[in-house]
Symmetry: C2
Subunit: 341 residues, 2 copies
Amino acid sequence: MHGRTTISDIAREAGVDKSTVSLVLNRKPLARMLKDDTKLRIFEIAKKLNYQPSLVAKSLFTGKTMTLGLVVGGIESPFFAELANTALEAADNHDYYMLVSASKWNFERERRALRLLLQRQTDGIICAIGGLCPQCEHHELYTSIIEQHYPMVLLDYQADGLSSICSDYSVGMNEAVQLLAGNGHTRIGYCLRRIQWNNKEKAFLSICGKYNIEAVKYRQEEGTDGINKIVGEIIKPGHPKAFLLFDDSSAIEMISAIKDIGKSVPEDFDIIGIDGIAWGTSYRPRLTTIKQDLKQLMNSAVDLLVKMIGNPDWKPENFSIPTRLMIKNTVRLKNNYKGGF
Amino acid sequence: MHGRTTISDIAREAGVDKSTVSLVLNRKPLARMLKDDTKLRIFEIAKKLNYQPSLVAKSLFTGKTMTLGLVVGGIESPFFAELANTALEAADNHDYYMLVSASKWNFERERRALRLLLQRQTDGIICAIGGLCPQCEHHELYTSIIEQHYPMVLLDYQADGLSSICSDYSVGMNEAVQLLAGNGHTRIGYCLRRIQWNNKEKAFLSICGKYNIEAVKYRQEEGTDGINKIVGEIIKPGHPKAFLLFDDSSAIEMISAIKDIGKSVPEDFDIIGIDGIAWGTSYRPRLTTIKQDLKQLMNSAVDLLVKMIGNPDWKPENFSIPTRLMIKNTVRLKNNYKGGF
DNA sequence: TTGTACGCGTTATCAT
DNA sequence: ATGATAACGCGTACAA
């Protein structure tokens, strides 16, 4: 046998029409009227030829591919790898297939990824990069997605007219700043790189204001040396001794860099990350971090997407999922602290 | 505008036949005979309506989806996340789209993943789990893949009649064992979990034989506590003081567990991992590991797959990609050692 | 430039 | 009751 088995192959071998085969294999009500003998024969032939129905043909007819798309920067990053993995599962739970696209944290490649997904007729897309908004260049995609009521959910950022699921950093951030303030810090350094993490930064600055903490911004250069340079700076006098990193990978890099110059965490610096990647608890000292509820985040996103797919006139909705501080060992701990967990 | 723009929408608006639109948008030679005015109008309308050609329809006609599949255990594991990321890039370089499926390290789910990929008409599949072989249960899939000459490449394991790309562990393993032997170890412990990593184990045992080293096997239970139990054992007298872990994640877990009981690496134990994940150099001490050349591995796999797709009568081929020991800081280093890098 | 057949599975309609 | 016929979706390619 060479090439793919089709429904017609089965029909020919069984001596019936292909529509009959379709009825039988899909267990349609109409098939109940057929002779048992016929049905049995069809099932056996299908099994013998290892028939796999073509979703391509089915999709062309139904207009649905039972496929969702996820656009992330890239899954070599531990956080986005976990995110993508969660997305695969969440989609699977809804009997959808998830296509994962990497944009390499690049708006142009992100648009390309989106176009490819649209061409593949994904029924909906979850987009975790910030390039889809009316303010960005080349917003034809954005415009046509809105006009066509294409089901789209943004992850951790927002844009007019589109649904979004965001982490609500306020609780976790509040616990984090409170913990650091309790350790006597009046200034907290924080590091940004790549795209601005607007939500993270906004929440952080707001909480700092509340506790009258000075937020000191450090810009992290791209490449492996970005963190090292910052660490080279902060060991000099006059810098904060507490730092919030905007993702766990960076936090871990910073702790390692601090070790490399002979200092240690949390004795010399208090460090807190954001994300809550699994890796963080494999590291020593275990990373204290503001944990995003990935499962909840992705389940909500997929749920929402599926609802939008079923109902094209669904109005855009915005949800937020709370974060909590996971207290581990990269911040000195006075036993009077009551928050976090 | 509601719903998707099709080639017919453009044709209607331009007052031409859809076949004309197809010719123009695909820049076919025949379109050169058309009036410039017509062509221009078609392009403009396509742009205005943000036309995205349906790959579903195209695939149905051509029989090709320009899609490959990758089956891995799950991309929450750092190694497989890097692998999948490399796969996305490699496929993209060949103008293919890569579908990533997670089997959760479960043969039944693996077969399901394969079936889904076949139904989606992937032009070829890269399979990185061991469940596809004549010895396994439910080998109808295996059989029909062979019979249909379906393009399939196995990653790091082999099965009769199918192509494969494997890491050749001999060089890296040789360097590793030599390094440990040089440190005076006459016994080396090694840990296995999940599926047997046959290639890894075989290479290890063979090299141990060569240097007359005793290989002591520890079976790692599933779950977070598997490594802890082993560490609880090996601190007792009579156990080896050098260990080879069959993946970097486990190696790092073991080092952390060793730290937790107040011992340290490499002072008390020499530890070597396998894989060479990026994470390994973020950890402290930096992980000494036998590095697989992921880029080479995936590029070879995709190359081979693409060749098989173009030529259905391609004979199965088996390639191996060398590994090297990356010497970092989890093994004591005497300055007379010359191997590795 | 256009009309049309084609790929494959689905479903509504028609014939025995 | 049982099963066949045909139209459909969308883009492609070849004959007209």
